[in-house]
């Protein structure tokens, strides 16, 4: 992961590097061209000077021959020789060894061959001037370019850091605010004002989003409380009236049975209501407190509470518990999860069967004997296996699913060797 501005800087640096690299041969070519041009001009001036000075001397033929001989001895690099005919000027550029200072190795020369008449004789003058060698020039240019590139790079990094600190400050401030934000404890979020349009817009939208979410969250929270209150009161009234009806002196066995049945249906409605509210509250993340829970202890505790129901059906419970297994979660939710799974197993076991509770460091498995496999796709859905005449609410496994999804655990059902196996994996 790299920061936004660093990423753009990488591109800039790369681009600048390419431009600088390309500039090296261009510089070289231009410098070389100027050199050659200047030296051509220099050679031309020198040749004209020699030419005109020699012509101005008006020497006799013998004196001229002697002078030319002397010239050629003194300046062997600038040869003056008799030519057969006058020819147009020509230039050349070559590398060769200086025979007078051989230690210098090869040198580059810019040469001019020019023809002129002296005492009506065509003469050829060769002028050579030493010029900068290619490899020296290009190295010098490369070094200079690279130096400037380094200066530019340091500047880039420095300016980038300065800009990024200043430019992105409001962004990082907003980021910090969002990072510390917790919907369960919505403290007021205040975004610092900035003079950058995009950040102002971003902060404004974030503010809108967060305020909206807080409002919805509060609304839902209130809804669960209100719904609970609104439904609980009429349910209480019915329950109380039935309790009172039960006290009537004249009640018959048959009426008592009717009241009992009404009570049972009422208990079921009450539980469905409670479970729906519980689901809503889990969805609204209203169980933020977590603790480290010792599972073998909790399982033993739950089984003790279910003792009556186990005895009633003469069910055996085989416990294969790895001691000391702990998980982190909300105590109440984990209890509900366990209760729902255990009750599920008890409810769907025939009398005298065996329920197995197996706890490993990474998973919990509760199994009970059964005849046919259940449909896993609807099992964990709300009212997925709901039947109106059973005592279940059709929400128990949906609650298990919801609790698992809160903590990122994996709930699973499979049917194996005539056993219904429900398992929870948390690692």
């Amino acid at each position: 992961m790299s920061k936004l501005l660093n990423r753009s800087m990488k591109a800039f640096v790369l681009y600048a590097g390419i431009v600088f690299a390309c500039s090296i041969p261009v510089y070289y070519a231009i410098v070389d061209l100027i050199w050659q041009h200047e030296l051509k001009e220099h050679n031309h001036i020198v040749s004209e000077t020699i030419k005109q000075n020699l012509q101005a001397l008006s020497l006799s033929d013998t004196a001229l021959t002697e002078s030319v001989l002397l010239w050629n001895k003194l300046r062997p690099e600038n040869q003056l020789q008799l030519a057969t005919a006058l020819q147009p000027d020509s230039t050349y550029n070559l590398y060769r060894k200086n025979k007078y200072i051989p230690s210098k190795g090869y040198d580059r020369f810019q040469g001019l061959v020019t023809y002129f008449l002296l005492n009506n004789q065509p003469y050829r003058l060769t002028l050579e001037t030493n010029m900068e060698e290619t490899h020296e020039t290009i190295v010098a240019i490369a070094v200079v370019t690279f130096t400037f590139f380094l200066i530019l790079l340091v500047g880039f990094i420095f300016i980038n850091r300065k800009i990024s600190e200043k430019l992105w400050r409001p962004f990082y401030q907003s980021l910090r605010q969002i990072q510390t934000f917790d919907l369960h404890k919505p403290n007021d979020i205040r975004f610092a004002p900035t003079d950058i349009e995009e950040f102002t817009l971003l902060n404004h939208q974030l503010d809108k989003l967060i305020t909206g979410n807080i409002a919805i969250y509060k609304q839902q929270k209130e809804f669960t409380q209100n719904a609970s209150h609104e439904l609980q009161t009429p349910l209480s009234i019915v329950k109380f009236k039935l309790d009172l009806l039960y006290q009537s002196k004249t009640i018959s066995d048959e009426q008592s049975e009717l009241i009992d049945q009404a009570h049972q249906a009422l208990a079921k409605v009450t539980r469905i209501n409670k479970n729906l509210l519980l689901l809503a509250r889990i969805e609204n993340s209203q169980f933020p407190e977590t603790a480290i829970i010792d599972l073998p202890d909790l399982i033993a505790d739950q089984l003790l509470q279910l003792e009556d129901f186990l005895q009633e059906k003469s069910l055996q419970v085989v416990q294969q518990l790895t001691p000391g297994v702990k998980i982190t979660g909300n105590q109440l939710l984990v209890e509900i999860l366990l209760t729902n799974l255990l009750i599920n197993a008890i409810r769907h076991s025939a009398a005298h069967q065996t329920i197995t509770v197996k706890l490993t460091p990474h998973s919990l498995e509760i199994s009970n004997p059964g005849a046919t496999a259940l449909q896993e796709s609807i099992l964990f859905r709300r009212f997925g296996t709901f039947s109106s005449n059973a005592s279940g609410t059709g929400l128990g496994l949906a609650i298990v699913h919801q609790i698992c999804s809160v903590y990122g655990w994996q709930e699973c059902y499979h049917f194996e060797n005539d056993l219904h196996i429900f398992s929870i994996r948390w690692a």
Partner: protein
């Protein structure tokens, strides 16, 4: 024994009054915050049933006002709010018990009975009924000099019945009392029958009178 019922829902309050009046309780009712505050300041009660959501104010504020007066009335919160937070808050503010709606009236009566017992008879927490002697603190039962060994659940049932003397209690209510929410999740409540049978047998074997009667097909009654 005076009980104040602070509950805005008239139907509920009337049902509670109707149920409790059969015992030795005299009941008063307050339907809103101000009315309740007046009553608290004017009279003394043995037990106060407090609904948390009241017209005109929060029940918890009433509870705080009560606790400042440092009197010995017991307070049971009866509320539709059943989240752990609310319960903890209520009990920390000074309530003796917390019952979330909907509950059974016999459950309420049993809790009132326990709260009053705890508050009033701190040193001598013994109930005498005929030859039957129950120590609520030590959780022991004697018939004359003969100790009766009861399981925790049997003792629990006995106290429940004592709080609901001469009232018919359904097996449903007993099951819910014994196993809370779990009762409704499973069809059968015959385990209640097993516990009652054992309790009855132990008491009769020890020579106590036959107080526990089976009424109709689904109910029981502690009759004196």
């Amino acid at each position: 024994m005076k009980v104040l019922i602070i509950e805005d829902e008239l139907q509920l309050a009337q049902s509670i009054i109707s149920y409790l009046s059969g015992q030795s309780y005299s009941c008063e009712h307050a339907g809103n915050y101000d009315h309740a505050l007046d009553k608290i300041h004017l009279h003394e009660y043995d037990c106060i049933l407090l609904d948390l959501m009241l017209p005109g104010g929060d029940g918890l504020q009433l509870l705080e006002a009560l606790k400042k007066r440092n009197q010995h009335e017991g307070v049971i919160i009866i509320s539709a709010k059943d989240s752990m937070d609310d319960k903890i808050k209520g009990l920390q503010t000074g309530a003796d018990d917390y019952l979330s709606k909907p509950f059974h009236l016999p459950e309420l009566a049993a809790r009132i009975y326990s709260v009053i017992r705890r508050r009033k008879f701190q040193n001598n927490n013994i109930i005498q009924q005929g030859t039957l002697q129950i120590d609520l603190l030590a959780k022991t039962v004697h018939v004359g000099d003969v100790p009766v060994l009861l399981t925790k659940k049997e003792f629990d049932l006995l106290v429940y019945f004592l709080g609901n003397k001469n009232r018919v209690i359904s097996k449903n209510a007993l099951a819910e009392h014994l196993s809370g929410d779990m009762a409704g999740m499973l069809d059968s409540h015959s385990f209640v029958y097993a516990h009652i049978k054992n309790l009855k047998r132990k008491l009769t074997e020890a020579g106590a009178g036959n107080y526990l009667k089976t009424i109709y097909a689904t109910g029981y009654k502690w009759e004196i």
